[in-house]
Symmetry: D3
Subunit: 331 residues, 6 copies
């Protein structure tokens, strides 16, 4: 039985879910990873309106679509971040409130707890999100970092997310951090530190997205092998380096899609991620959850691309072997 | 006549200048680029004490060392940066003052003006420094940047440095920004924006250091070719990528010298910088200033390394041709 | 609306157009770029016979094929070339005449004017061709070139093609030079010189064919970006390097298809051209004209290959994005 | 007419031939290369039972499958090898007998002669197999080899296989050694020595399998070009290097499929073999025999893979050109 | 204090030690790693003749040469190997005896115990050697290996070497296995298994020689990092791959120095080993023992090469840093 | 005894030989390869003036310089070339005469015969030169080449050079063609054809210069191995590719030294030639003649470079081994 292929709806929140579901179903997807913005999955309504979750499920069922996870990246980001004006753009007004940083962070934390509760209502056991980070901005050590401050960033993370994960545990829902630059974990070293900071508790795992690894020169297959017991969900997203001696791998403070960037996101299979090696590694660790396409490519028509992407996954993802060849070779 | 080879004293400020000068002279250097910290070159004393500069020159002369530039990186950093506790470690107490950000930035700006005045007193026409940046921390666009804010960062830079460069112009001294991550300019795109922001005025140029380019996958020779008329000073420093799929090119929030980093600084000639192509490009643009070795390698003995470095430069830097070969080939 | 995919008929001139059109239509092409040899498009008859062009159009219409351009490479070659016996093989007898070089060049120039007139009759606004070159043979500077003579080659080109382009302008037809070794322009440097030589006039543009760039180690996407306003037509053709230390990149004076060559033409998608990056660049510059497959692969069955090629283009060429992802990410 | 695509049944001997034939036929294969183990093709029964071969053919015919070759790798291995306990696992009991090395080798040789006779009965003119080698274990020269002993290994090979090939000649059947580590020939050098040892006689040729070449850094297309007149049969099998500085290219005494190996077999098109260049080379030498997929990939479901493999071959193998392009270009 | 640089005398055993010592001393070496063959260091005489060791020391002292280790590779090889005629060439007659395998192995084991005793007499605490291997010849798993037999090879090794290491422990001498193809350990995987087999006891460590790693595509710096506490001695030897698609990485059963090999040993600094990264790693693990040049290059004059090699080591090996740069940067 | 290192004087003909000899001698060269232009070696005077050669020898002797070859590249070029105005610049007036092509070619041929005679007078047995080529300009097959014409070019070469080589044979002097683009031979294929055209006669060999091979992606070591018996003289010259997607490997009709070229000549050791592999190959074929540095680097001071070059050769060229290591390893 192959892994289900879903679409993460975060980049399609301009479309009503009904309209999106119809398209996605016709393209052959098995389900959706609902974003907690737009009208796709509204945490506050899910908790306030008794029929909300049932209606969402019914909508999905009408189109033959499953749902194994939801994505709450935007609110999660505000839990640990130093808050600035950019967060206003990604937060619900009631979470942003007056914009006072301490209050924003606290309200974001509460909303994450509610997200676990709403997921449980929907019958979903996996919530993916960002965590934010108090120390990401100290990426380059100049002025020289006080590395104790980096350590305090991990403590801050553990203090803020510990109580949230308690609620996740209580609801029977698992959290999946999308390891990503700007988050508390974005590579091997920081993922080890992050998992250690929360005592490697089971409720806190990873939503693995290889597109954030390729441009860092990191090996996705090695990552899922090392963190095998915490890979709870997988995104299928790709990125491509376009280095020519004049484009910086750091991105040049240019927006995605600008020609001068040293790397950019591209439709799965069009970039540097070696998906076959990744899928083989997922086979080895026994990952049986969704492959959730997070589609983002500033140079490609979105609908052409989504169909191209699912065709790519269908022809690249395969089940592991159940045969020992030597046995066949021997009498 | 070859270019003079100097040593930047910033990484040797734990040694009194007298002691350092003796060593450096014996190793065959032509001069020093004095750092404005330690006892190497103290801007406040240079302006306050009538004989200070003459005494410095006498010290250098005793060791047969010239001085073509001074380095004021630490104070410069505070002019545009959002100030945090790390700046306290790199600023003189009177510049840090009460640590109120606006005041720190203002005092740092004034000190930079004084630095131009002090350089003039010393008979030096080149001051190298950092500028800081109000927007560096928005390196990755998540939460999504308001790119107008990036533009405002360049305006802030121009507003703060314009009056400083006025003083430089008045003193007949040129400013050289060391293009570097954490500064307003760190690659091709941001250098273009930076120079444009100050109207490409002559008083504001570049201290080019290739070690900040190699790990970004940028081409040093192409950089000095494009910005030929603003390359006022050159550092000889190297860096090396050690990518193995587990070390991030972003550095992993690890200090220099830690084994888990994806890149690190190394002694010149031991890393990824193609110095020969850089020196050929400097020949083509007619750069005749110092090659100033900024020596930093966390895995090598400092004194062994400095001598290895000057030997490397001496055998790698050569004068351009003055012959047309075809002419010799023809009768 | 995607770009139309056409077949350039130059390599199929052994087949009557009727027969070829039937095949090509059944393979799913949108149209033909008619070669001005064989019976595909005869310039002299087009001007002499009132119904000729209408009959051609009717033939194409019967097969559901459009025509956006014609190719007059062979005659164009003789306009600037030093004429030798090889030109006899590619010229109509009346253009070759007695083979006297000056006369051949002049007659070829007149025929190119007629080609513009014939194209207008056919209702086509794009003529692709070669230009020849008086100086190509001085490719390697030994005996040492007098580089003024190279400059005079560009003047000769401008003098010969200026009056031809005047006729193109008058007819409302644009000329597209296929940038190619043996022509006045074959790389970035020479294309800049060529366009400058004709004053960057609008009537003279480029038929871009990436197969002539890959073996020169040139970047097709960078080329269409630099010359965006002169890319009037695009060929889809590929080439592949097969360097093993014994095969010269210069080709070894061996014919296409011989095993000892260092590079050769291959069916699109089987070689070194990065078509996805090229198509993305064409999207960025807004190119909406035909992708015209010029099929040539000495090791592959021609009909198998043409069908393989159109399938390749259909799955590789995509429309650009019309969505800003950040907008979707924000509420 | 394209080359037939067959499946080598050696890795499927756990399935009865009837069951396998039905599957393979439904996947679109043209035929089978029958392994001489399992119930696929039993040499002793073929010679003993008058109807055996006709019944096999009838079975294949029922499923529309041809048969151009059989594979007798296991018995062939024992002809030259120093016999140890591992051979017991791959030999029929009557060939193993009491396991005395000299007797085993002699009986294996006789069985190979019978295999030629049985192939003739089945109407097949090609038998592929291994040969074993008396000297393979001296792969690394420590303790220092007496290289005369290596030469004696080739003489031993010639003495043992000469009489076998006599029978092949008499039966009108050709022998195809699968060039492979552990055999008398496994690279260019040893293949030259092997063919020389048997006097380059026509009855002794090669079953070429590129999967044994890629991990040795050998070029399959160059191999079939050099040994064009002895390439009698071709396997389509692939292998992939996964070197990361910790996995040895020598394999590490680890079984196929273990993660720590530096290379492994993979489904065709998923590895390092450049099949297009190989197929072009086969076109050039005029090879018109089967492309026989030997499917082995420890990380992929066998049935998914076999179908993936034939799709890969169908889209990668093409007929050579019959057109000279210059002719079309000239009038 | 830098690491001493010694020459391993194994490849110079055709020269009397007196003559060799004079040369080596004049070339600037710090000492010798004496081979236990030729007249360099004779284990039997060292135990039998009271003055033997003192005379050797006196000889070395006369030339200003130290001795930190001896090499007993040849006898060690016979302890675990399946004995064949090649061993006769590398063993002393009294160890070879009648050549009966069990007896040869037993006598080789006893001689290794004597080697520890003789080393102690000489005042040397490090003996480097090979171990041989009962299973090396099963390098490629065909006929399919019984992997339990591989395990039994490690048990055999532990049984044979355990009593030997007991004597080493008693004598206060450490054993250093040169990890090498044909030995019980030759890569990361097998070194782990080997050390585990002897319970990671301190008396059994590694003589690390990177030349056996480069052609396997293994990373020497990673190896010394992983096995930091067992790296007891280091050889400086290099190897180079010369792969061109026709030369097998397996070596082709060709002797060292033959042009057709895919790799070969070369003078240090002329091959694929990254010695700088290795020496940096040795600095990190605190290795302070000898760098012992084992010189072997079939294409270079031996005496020219030895001098080239020590110059290479002197300019490549450096002491680690004792400075923290940030400290210097901060006031 | 190492190979002598000489300087080819062609690029120094602006200096009187006396002045050049003094410099070259002080730099440590063993001798000069005299160019037949400037006052270095004048063929006409050598034949006309009885003391000319003795005086040259005396001059060289005074500076301790030998002479093993002379270079007559410029006149040789005119023997087969289609003559144009560029040849006037490289020919003596009496050879150019009225510039009529047939006459120029004939006179150049006669002068080459005289060159052999003059060399004999000087006591030199090797003359290096170019040959020109009637077909080089047909490098790219468009307009499509008549490949019979290429063959006729080789016949023309043989007809013109046959009688010249007869004189060489008579004088006991060997001819060495510098294989080079623009000559009858410039790669492997054309060198085979060239040698075949003159019947592989001994009097006609090769002056091998690797700088013409690197930018063609050809392997110098493989070349001297294949043509071992015709490598009569060796130039040490280097070239470097600087490909960035915008610079053509074809050179762009730009003069040497211009920044836009895709490759250029550089001082030995600064480019792409693998001199160590070349020197190892020369050792294997037993080449004991001069290594003649032809120094040309448009970006480096000529005198700095010549000294850098000889230092490079002295540290890179070594004698072959005379030891068999296994012998030393065995008792």
């Amino acid at each position: 039985m192959p892994r289900p292929v879903t679409l993460f709806t975060g980049q399609w929140a301009d479309l009503p879910l009904e309209e999106l579901a119809e398209k996605v179903s016709s393209w052959g997807f098995d389900g959706l990873e609902l974003a907690c913005w737009g009208d796709h999955f509204e945490v506050d309504r899910a908790l306030a309106e008794p029929d909300y979750c049932a209606a969402k499920r019914a909508l999905l069922d009408r189109h033959g679509l499953g749902c194994w996870a939801i994505g709450a990246h935007l609110v999660g980001q505000a839990v640990c971040d130093p808050i600035d004006s950019r967060h206003r753009g990604i937060l619900p007004p009631e979470v942003w409130g007056d914009g006072d940083p301490a209050g924003v962070r606290a309200r974001a934390g509460e909303r994450m707890k509610d997200t676990a509760r709403a997921a449980a209502q929907l019958g979903v056991t996996q919530v993916n999100a960002f965590t934010g980070s108090a120390v990401w901005h100290m990426l380059y050590s100049f002025p020289p970092n006080d590395f104790d401050e980096i350590e305090r960033g991990y403590e801050d993370f553990a203090e803020r997310w510990g109580p949230i994960v308690d609620v996740f545990d209580a609801e029977g829902v698992r959290f999946g951090l999308e390891v990503h630059p700007t988050e508390i974990a974005y590579d091997f070293v920081t993922t080890r530190k992050t998992l250690d900071a929360v005592g490697r508790r089971e409720g806190f795992g990873i939503n693995f997205d290889p597109s954030h690894f390729a441009h860092q020169s990191l090996d996705p297959a090695a990552f899922v092998t090392e963190f095998a017991d915490r890979v709870y969900h997988v995104h299928v997203k790709d990125s491509k380096k376009r280095l020519d001696g004049r484009r910086s791998i750091l991105g040049g403070h240019l927006n995605f899609g600008e020609a001068g960037r040293g790397w950019d996101f591209v439709s799965p299979g069009h970039g540097d991620v070696d998906f076959e090696e990744l899928f083989r590694a997922l086979n080895r660790i026994g990952y049986a959850g969704p492959l959730s396409i997070e589609w983002e490519d500033s140079g490609m028509d979105r609908e052409w691309g989504a169909q191209d992407a699912i065709a790519f996954v269908r022809r690249t993802d395969f089940a592991p072997s159940e045969v020992a060849f030597d046995a066949a070779m021997q009498r």
